[in-house]
Each structure stands twice: as structure tokens, then as C-alpha cells.
């Protein structure tokens, strides 16, 4: 039994996922995962959602279909994923090999006062992803599992889904640029096909 305080640290998880990112493209969901990515360091190949809750996974799908030559990682929270849960069915049908969806799951809505989310009760996101047709899923509770997933992002042959158990804490906010037009304009320039 993993006790709550032994769950992974969200900032450390984000650092691990991005430490050898190479050409990796990153989409983060509204809320804490956007601050986590900013804490690792702003990058033109990051597209941060500051709103449009539920959009992260689908933005990743459109991007992955468009850029088959690049790996695309979506990092979002349990609440953001729950709002767009149908996206798992949509992506489960498409399954582009260059896409990985990861959910930082602390079982809470961190941005609104730490109210419990459905995953704090009986809802299991990995089981949902499997039922939606994802062929390779990860239920990550420790550093070893995280390392395995982080490496797999770069050589998978199907869309990955990972639920990563993180502590329900609130590290200091690190805010990336929030001008949507700026974020939207710089991203394609950073990955332009020569």
C-alpha cells in the first residue's frame, strides 16, 4: 500500500519527463501542469493551456496527426482530463504512434481549493484508457515506473496513456507567458520544417 505522502513530487516528475526531451513537443493542461512545465523552464516547443479546460489531450491529438515526425507529450491533471474524458474514446480510436497522454493525478482540483476529484473516489483513469482502446498504459506510483514511461515516449509504436500518482501539494506557482497569440505564434516557428 502506497501511503499518500510517498506519492511522487509533481515538479520532479515534470523534470524527469523533460530532461532528455530532444525534439519533444509538449502540451500542458489548464492549471498546475502548466506551472510545472514553466518551473522546468519555458520553451518555445511548449504549448500551455491557461483555459479551455478539457482541451489538452485533443490539442495533442491534432498536433500528433499533423507532425508525424515528432513525438508529442500531453501532461495534464486529473480534473482537466475528467472534463474531456470523451477525448480518451476519440484518441483510443485514432492512436497515433507519436502521442503520449499523461495525467498528473493527485485526486484533487488544486487550483480551486483542493476539492476532491472523481479519481479520489472510485474512478480509475488507466482502466478508462484501456477500455477506450489504448494498447499501452502505465499506472505510475514510483520513480522506476516513471523512468520506464519517460523512455518509452521516444520509441512507442502506439499512443501511450500514463496516470502518474502525485502528492496533493501546491508548490510555488511559476507562470509561463499567458498571451495566447504569442504562444500560438512562436510554437510553429520553433518546429518549422526546413
Amino acid at each position: 500500500m502506497i501511503t499518500k505522502d510517498r506519492r511522487l513530487d509533481r515538479r520532479a516528475v515534470m523534470r524527469t519527463l523533460l530532461e532528455n526531451r530532444g525534439e519533444l513537443l509538449l502540451v500542458t493542461g489548464l492549471g498546475s501542469t502548466t506551472w510545472d512545465a514553466a518551473a522546468v523552464g519555458d520553451d518555445h516547443r511548449n504549448f500551455y493551456l491557461w483555459g479551455a479546460m478539457g482541451a489538452a489531450a485533443m490539442v495533442g491529438l491534432g498536433l500528433a496527426i499533423a507532425r508525424t515526425d515528432r513525438r508529442v507529450l500531453v501532461v495534464t491533471g486529473d480534473g482537466e482530463m475528467l472534463m474531456g474524458l470523451g477525448a480518451l474514446a476519440t484518441i483510443g480510436v485514432q492512436r497515433p504512434p507519436n502521442l503520449a497522454i499523461s495525467v498528473f493525478d493527485n485526486g484533487h482540483y488544486g487550483e480551486t481549493g483542493m476539492q476532491a476529484s472523481h479519481t479520489a473516489e472510485n474512478v480509475e483513469l488507466v482502466a478508462v484508457a484501456r477500455a477506450c482502446g489504448f494498447k499501452e498504459t502505465f499506472d505510475i506510483i514510483d520513480e522506476l515506473g516513471l523512468r520506464h514511461f519517460a523512455a518509452r515516449i521516444y520509441n512507442a509504436s502506439t499512443t501511450l496513456f500514463a496516470r502518474i500518482a502525485i502528492r496533493a501539494d501546491e508548490p510555488p506557482r511559476v507562470l509561463p507567458p499567458r498571451d495566447g497569440v504569442f504562444l500560438k505564434t512562436r510554437f510553429p516557428r520553433a518546429i518549422v520544417v526546413e
Binding site: G51, G54, A55, L61, G62, A66, G84, T90, G180, K184
Partner: protein, 178 residues
Amino acid sequence: MTEIATAERPDWRDEVFGALKAAEIRQIGYVPDAGHARLIELCRDDPAVPAVSLTTEEEGVALAAGAWLGGQRAALLMQSSGVGNCINMLSLTKTCRFPLLMLVAMRGEWAEFNPWQVPMGSKTQAAFELCDVLIYRVERAEEAAETVAAALDITFNGDLATAVLLSQRLIGAKRWTK
């Protein structure tokens, strides 16, 4: 003469597909609708235009944003009842100024049998306009392709959100009894 001209003209749905292809649309997100059936079929038969079946319309708004980030143009097909589902997601389109073209098959208007379609159908245009989406309406088959082509131009030239409302009179009201 008129009859010959009509016979030679392709179906307007095929012409609309041609307009999408001509504008280099490379991804189509859709929630099935009888009015879009032919267009969905054409997309599904064309490997150059991957068609992504959505569980709900707002997924398509996010899909199109992702496609644009990756350098591709996307368009969405939906029924008027799905427009309300998109409202909050359109904040992504507006805040980031993503180009977005939506083709909307209208329900709840001309000769509608099902009154449950009327509340959203009668407010589709107003809802879009509240979100600063530009509206083009097609009532006649011969105007469909050129309207879609014009909407595609303004969408991608100006990074704007547009919707082409395909009227129920054009599509034909759903038949409930045979």
C-alpha cells in the same frame, strides 16, 4: 437546358469537399449528422484528409488548434445542436486567434418535426455571434461550395473563426415517416 445544366453539376456536397481540398484542409473533425453524411464519407475515403470522429463537438475545436500548431489546416463538421457544446472551448480559438472553420448542418428550423431541436437550432447563429464567430449561411445548393471557399479564405487569411450554416431547407428536413 436547365435540366441538362442541373444534371451536369456535381452534388453540392461533393463541391464542398472540393473546396475543402482546394484550401488544403488536412484534418476533419466531425460528430456525425445526416446532413454531413456524404461529406464524412468523402473524407473517410480520402487518406489525405484524416477524418477524426469526435464524441462531442468541443473536442474538434481543440483538435483544430493542435493541427494548426503542427502546421496543418483543419475543419469541423457538426450539427447545430453541437454548437452549444463548443462555447467554452471557443475561448481557445479566440484567445490564441486560431483559424477555425466549422460547417454546421442546421436542425430546428425549416419544417422541423422534432421540437427538441428548436431551442439550440434557433439560437445557433446568436450563440456563435456572442463568441465572435463570423457567420455565412447557405440556403441554395449552387451557393454552397463558393460560400465555403469564401469562408475558408477569410478564416485562414485572418486567423478568424467562421461558421457556414447549411440550412435545413438546403439539406432537407429529416423524414420521420416513410
